[in-house]
Amino acid sequence: MNQLFKELRLAGVSRHFDNPSGQRVAALHELTLTIKRGEFICLLGPSGCGKTTALNCIAGLLPVTGGTISLDQHRIDLLPPEKRGFGMVFQNYALFPHMTVRKNVAFGLMMRGTPAGEIKTRVARAFELVQLTGHEDKLPGQLSGGQQQRVAIARAIVIEPPLLLMDEPLSNLDAKLRLEMRAEIRRIHRQLGRTTIYVTHDQEEALSLADRIVVMKDGLVQQVATPEEVYAQPANIHVARFMGYRNVLTLNAGTRNGQRIALEGQGLTLEGAVKQDPGGKAAVAIRPEDISVGSGPNTIAGKIENVEYGGHESLIDVRAGNDVLLHVRTGARVKMGEAVTLTVAPERVLVYLAETA
């Protein structure tokens, strides 16, 4: 299975389990996705959304309860993990504590029966790639979190897997190291030209790394799109909420004119852009950075209730309409208690079907 493939096809991949009260629950429901060689795919969603389940199903660590996984023409969903030959980086790194870092990295090659000489050169190259040369003879416990993480990456890539799976590999690192490692992972991906599937709950991480993002919630795929599209045009209100549209209002839908629609309720009158036909009640999503202080279309009058200074920009809370709290990110210098006028372009007021609770 160690040859390069053209595409990895997931068709209706599901994973069910029986919860303690005996009900059958889907941790992952009919994931269908085709991944091309060389792509960087992020599975993004809150905890419990099924993203790690999906990754474990692809790796072969969890048996699927429905659907198929194929590499080009070959079905692989019935193969054990050791026969699939995918590299995997675990959230807690899962380094073998009793082996030196060198042995950890060499383990996959050893299992493949690679000649000793070749193991030596490939392991040395992997250490160079993750910039850990000089630490080879330490035990994992003697390394810092960031170094352990890089060992885990080296161990997974040294076998030159056709597919590299990563399960929130940066979640245990501090903010500075996380940024560095993010760039590192992207660099390694480009350098090796292999396919990567990366699981994260951090939308910023997904936006910066992925060629395509798969947004998930409750075991269901919500949207599959490029980072730009997911960011600017979320497919539904769940995705919008997850992608940082912090202002979500429930308003009455009025007359529709092409993609534009009139909205009214909670003491506000707005014009928005239809993403999903809302019917009567609409869920309206606006990103804090799309609202600006000043006058223009969609004028909203309000009073500033809170100011969080953030250097270049501040995050302010504005009380408007009938007691609606709006979050606004602005560079304007404003003070607590001031009256303020806000404006937002109609194409940045995204209108969705209201959530059915």
């Binding site: 790796a59 072969g60 660590l61 054990p80 993990p81 050791e82 699939r84 030959g85 995918f86 590299g87 995997m88 675990f90 959230q91 807690n92 790194y93 899962a94 380094l95 073998f96 504590p97 009793h98 383990f107 996959g108 299992m111 493949r112 035990l139 994992p140 416990g141 979190g145 352990q148 885990a152 161990r155 997974a156 076998i159 799976l165 979640s171 245990n172």
Partner: protein, 290 residues
């Protein structure tokens, strides 16, 4: 200087006094009797100071007990740990049956040696259930001798010693992070390689401890050697020799010498096993931070 003071074990708040009861208990019930026995063993009723030891190692009736005890306890220990490891390994994942099987395997630990011997005589004895059953079905028609010999004592020591070795091993096995084996699997290791390269090296230090404890338990065999063994010959173990010296010949000095030899023999094995253990990895068995 204040940092030095803070590091001193004798803190001024007097919490160190809490070890008092344990120290007194150890002194009264272990150190003193041991020291007294040691002294007593070198003060024989007659002859030179080492007369007891000379007698033990020159009288075949005595020194043979040491060999017999090793012949019993070493195979039994290997059998107990060897059986415990694969069973505990199979039960490492939480399954519906795990608790049920574990309970079943551990029940014998609650039974006393004498009770086990009683049961064995009824079940394994010449006219016991097992032999009646085998003869009824004509599976084996010859005489079945599983008690009152070496085999009987081995069986008894396995029945009483296995649950102990199993429980210890199970706690070591379940302490190992299962993601390590999963990581090995993604790197191409099949079930056997996962066991050999991941589980076994991480378990080895725990197995060494289990071996030591199981060995000491088996080495001090006494009731079952009499009740289901052949105490006049094949299962005349060293504790029996000490008992005879103390309570049949009333030679406490000789009995102490036998007890000292017994303790020393156990110590040699434990020290050897722990010495081997020093060469093993003994750090945490997790896969990393978090």
């Amino acid at each position: 200087m204040s940092a030095m003071a803070a590091r001193s074990p004798f803190r001024t708040d007097g919490t160190w006094l809490l070890v008092g009861p344990a120290v007194i208990f150890l002194m009264l019930f272990f150190i003193y009797p041991f020291g007294y026995g040691f002294w007593l063993s070198f003060n024989p009723a007659e002859g030179a100071w080492s007369a007891n030891y000379q007698k033990f190692f020159s009288d075949e009736h005595l020194w043979r007990t040491l060999i017999v005890t090793f012949q019993l306890s070493l195979p039994v220990t290997i059998l107990n740990v060897g059986l415990a490891l694969p069973i505990a390994f199979q039960l490492r994942r939480k399954t519906r049956y795990q608790r049920w099987v574990t309970t079943l395997l551990v029940i014998p630990i609650t039974l006393g040696t004498v009770l086990i011997a009683e049961g064995m005589l009824t079940y394994f004895g010449p006219r016991g259930w097992l032999s009646q059953f085998l003869q009824l079905l004509h599976i084996y028609d010859g005489p079945i001798r599983l008690t009152h010999n070496f085999t009987g004592v081995v069986l008894s020591l396995v029945i009483s010693g296995f649950p102990f070795a199993f429980l210890l091993t199970l706690s070591y096995v379940t302490g190992i992070d299962p993601t390590l084996a999963r990581a090995a699997a993604t790197l191409g290791a099949g079930p056997w390689d996962q066991f050999r390269h991941i589980y076994l090296p991480l378990l080895a230090p725990g197995l060494a401890i289990t071996f030591c404890l199981a060995f000491v338990q088996a080495f001090s065999v006494f009731p079952s050697a009499v009740l289901v063994g052949a105490p006049s010959g094949p299962t005349r173990v060293i504790s029996l020799a000490a008992y005879e010296a103390a309570f049949e010949q009333y030679d406490y000095s000789m009995a102490s010498a036998v007890a000292m030899i017994m303790g020393f023999a156990q110590l040699i094995v434990v020290v050897a096993v722990l010495g081997l253990r020093r060469g093993l990895y003994r750090g945490p068995v997790g896969g990393g931070k978090g």
